[in-house]
Symmetry: D2
Subunit: 140 residues, 4 copies
């Protein structure tokens, strides 16, 4: 199973007047973790893999998160990210954010492989994940 | 059922290199909508109701969202926010973001009424929602 | 002189653990105010004027701000935005954010009219502001 | 002179529809760099030094930045941060963000040592920097 771990620190700019992280910041962190996971699987930076496979990105169509304990500025955390399922045009990712080994947040996201809609460039639509990408998503 | 609608515009600063909204921004918008809902129910700004009820806030412990169609900078959207369930120390909120009447995003959140933990100010714990607040949450 | 005023509220999501606005949020607000100013001058939304004039945007090349008094969540503020100078390929904007009539923040920005560099699409370069745009910038 | 360098990567979440960084993100990065600088000077995390010296923070009262070349998602950058001046109750910081050795952004900020106003807890006011802090700011 494809996975990676990022270590980072919760910063002042991530926190709200209650002194704890403002939860939408977790989704920004998860988004970067997903990018890093795919970059490593494909051996290319995102800016390059978007060009190489000529697509618009892998937008989230559904997400879910459970916040088990808050984190605060200065907290060192780890985010473990796993590709847990891969279909023809969508895939599922799970994130586990831990602080000192204890689970603080679980995140779940479903993403699609998206291209501009041929009849309407203002809209995007899902399309089959290229076989080469599928092979890399499934082999790691 | 307590509810309110906010009309806003998706801005350049909300969007990513794909030209569509970066989805964590929706959670920022939903958070503000929840605040406005509670402010109206209690007849006080958040800065005042935090003091009046001497608590730390109403952090999200679980959230979920489905993104049905993307929004882009310049899009005028409406967010309808509803209090759908209220327990002893937690409550559930639903958000429906529409663009030109069409549903673009659905958000679901569970929040707790939180206070600093008496034995450890670094942690927060849920506590009973004050009866006066419960009455207002249930009567509207 | 081209100008406009936006009224908005400082929200919880804009504030940091000191309970006051996290100052980079002001620059997000100023960026939207500049967009609105140009949209009104040109009579088109940004998504349309970027296409109509086939350019990459009007990035900031220099900015400056003075923070005279903090704002907090719940504060109603007004941002007055003025085009104060317009050259061949750049223009200057000033923002005055007030709270209850008192000046809280002054912002100054210099922006260029930018296109992708013809020899290197990864870079952008300034180019002359179209005469039609100049006319509108100077006549309002 | 007190200084430090942070290496980081510009991410998708930092960028706008032009595909380049949305400039307010630089101020978030600079704010974290300033925090790290002070943490190292004082030998404590921010959460601890706020308590140790019983103050409200070191808000920016004036900032300025020049953006010399854009950065894009995937760019590895370095931020060098220096304490360039220190007065009785304020200090000045400079940031130099480079990409592949080339200067991309210069940032300048003036901050004050702030406490809650004794007569009005809703306002903050500058106060003398403690001698112990001054000594550390000047000796490194």
């Amino acid at each position: 199973m494809l996975s990676n771990i990022r270590n980072l620190r919760i910063e002042w700019c991530d926190c709200d007047p209650a002194g704890i992280i403002f939860y939408p910041r977790y989704f920004e962190m998860f988004d970067t973790s997903t990018t890093v996971l795919i970059e490593r699987a494909l051996g290319m930076n995102k800016i390059d893999y978007l060009k190489a496979y000529d697509f618009a990105g892998h937008p989230v169509i559904e997400t879910r998160a459970r916040f088990r304990q808050p984190t605060r500025f200065g907290d060192e955390v780890a985010i473990e990210t796993m590709l847990v399922e891969c279909g023809q045009s969508s895939f599922k990712i799970e994130h586990r954010l831990t602080k000192a080994g204890a689970l603080a947040v679980e995140g779940f996201e479903t993403r699609v492989w998206a291209a501009s809609h041929p009849d309407d460039p203002k809209h995007i639509k899902s399309q089959p994940i290229p076989p080469e990408v599928l092979a890399r998503f499934n082999s790691n």
